[in-house]
């Protein structure tokens, strides 16, 4: 075979584009043929020269910047940063307000809790804890009439472990209310009832079961029919809760 036909394929061979089998055959020929060998060498040199000469033009940094800018992801970051700052401010304000109102209500709650606890303790410590002594709710309830600007119901205790000891007047924030004393397994529980609207920060109480640290008492409070109820005593939480449930059912 004349070298002309080989040389026709030489560029394709040097481009590495010959099929694998043809490549092997061609390679064997080129290595053994001085003419084709020399020709291949020249062509490789030209290829190299074209590659080097071809990489002639380099873009300016300015163009690169311009193009990079045009294809960059949307300026979400700057927008996001502005949004984040605005949102952070808003959140801070809200958190601040919440904290402030929480602290106020907490201190208010703490204060009310203390006062309620004090009322309970004072009654327990008193030589005459109750003003009306009766285990009968039908006696105690009418006793409060005229003394307090509201009416409330006392639960039936017949099938419970609770017993009513009596009642007395109570004052919270200069507001008159009812103070009832119950007994369960030798533990005394006070139930205090006040008008909701006449109480400070009553809205922040909600329905709460409080067992503050270092307090010997358990307490439960709720609002019903415009009245705010407190059940407090050194009885266990379950007993407190059961009495609360009885009152809730009675109202």
């Amino acid at each position: 075979m004349g070298c002309d036909s080989w040389k026709a394929e030489l560029d394709t061979y040097l481009d590495g584009e010959l099929p694998e089998e043809e490549m092997r055959v061609f390679d064997a020929h080129v290595r053994g043929c001085p003419s084709c060998s020399a020709d291949a060498l020249t062509r490789v040199q030209v290829k190299r020269a074209i590659r080097v000469a071809g990489k002639r033009f380099t873009p300016t940094a300015d163009l690169r910047k311009r193009i990079q800018k045009s294809i960059a992801a949307p300026p979400q970051r700057s927008f996001g940063l502005r949004w984040t700052l605005a949102a952070a401010t808003a959140v801070a304000l809200v958190v601040g307000w919440l904290a402030a109102s929480y602290l106020v209500s907490r201190s208010g709650r703490d204060q009310t809790y203390s006062e309620i606890a004090d009322l309970h303790v004072a009654t327990m410590a008193s030589s005459s804890p109750v003003d009306v002594v009766s285990t009968d709710r039908h006696t105690v309830k009418p006793w409060f009439q005229g003394k307090i600007p509201f009416a409330f119901n006392l639960p039936e205790l017949q099938n419970t472990e609770f017993s009513l000891l009596g009642g007395r007047m109570a004052y919270l924030d200069q507001t008159p209310g009812a103070h009832l004393i119950y007994d369960i397994r030798k533990h005394h529980i006070s139930v205090l009832v006040f008008q909701e609207r006449s109480m400070k920060l009553s809205a922040s109480w909600g329905e709460n079961v409080l067992s503050p640290k270092n307090s010997p008492f358990n307490m439960e409070t709720w609002s019903q029919g415009g009245l705010r109820y407190f059940v407090i005593g050194d009885a266990n939480a379950t007993d407190i809760d059961n009495l609360a449930k009885l009152f809730k059912a009675a109202s």
């Binding site: 481009d15 020249t42 002639r56």
Partner: protein, 176 residues
Amino acid sequence: MCVSETSLRLESFEQLALPHFEGLYNFACWLTQDRQEAEDLAQETYAKALKGFSSFRQGTNFRAWIYKILRNTFLTSRTRLKASATMPIDVEGEEEVLPTTEETPESILLQRSDWQRVQQAMEHLPVAYREVLLLCEVEEMSYQEISATLGIPIGTVMSRLSRARKMLRAELRPGP
């Protein structure tokens, strides 16, 4: 399309497209023979590619895709019209005046100082030959890739390459 989805697509485009910047600019310069035109061409190419990115099938050859956009943009630009006035782009069916005898192999020995000669020789090539040569030698594209980029059959790629190289060799040979 939600914002995060949009920015994800754009990030992908930037990641795919930016590495080709130097090559595309260089190619644009060789096509236009004018720096300013090349800059415009490069920018227009990126704008078009970004716009049409949704039509690009992920996983396929991005380089061929974006080079094709550049070349097509060039063909439809006024640069092409300017260039075609002085030099034809299409060479199919043209009569080529080539030396009938094969050059002696040892006659072409290129020194480093010959780079300029090579560059001039390349400038003298018709655009159709110049572009296949550049894509093959500078961008190191396969015949298949060149075929996809230029939208021509592989056989045409091979014949144009062959002619381009012959012309170049003829010009580089130290003449009498």
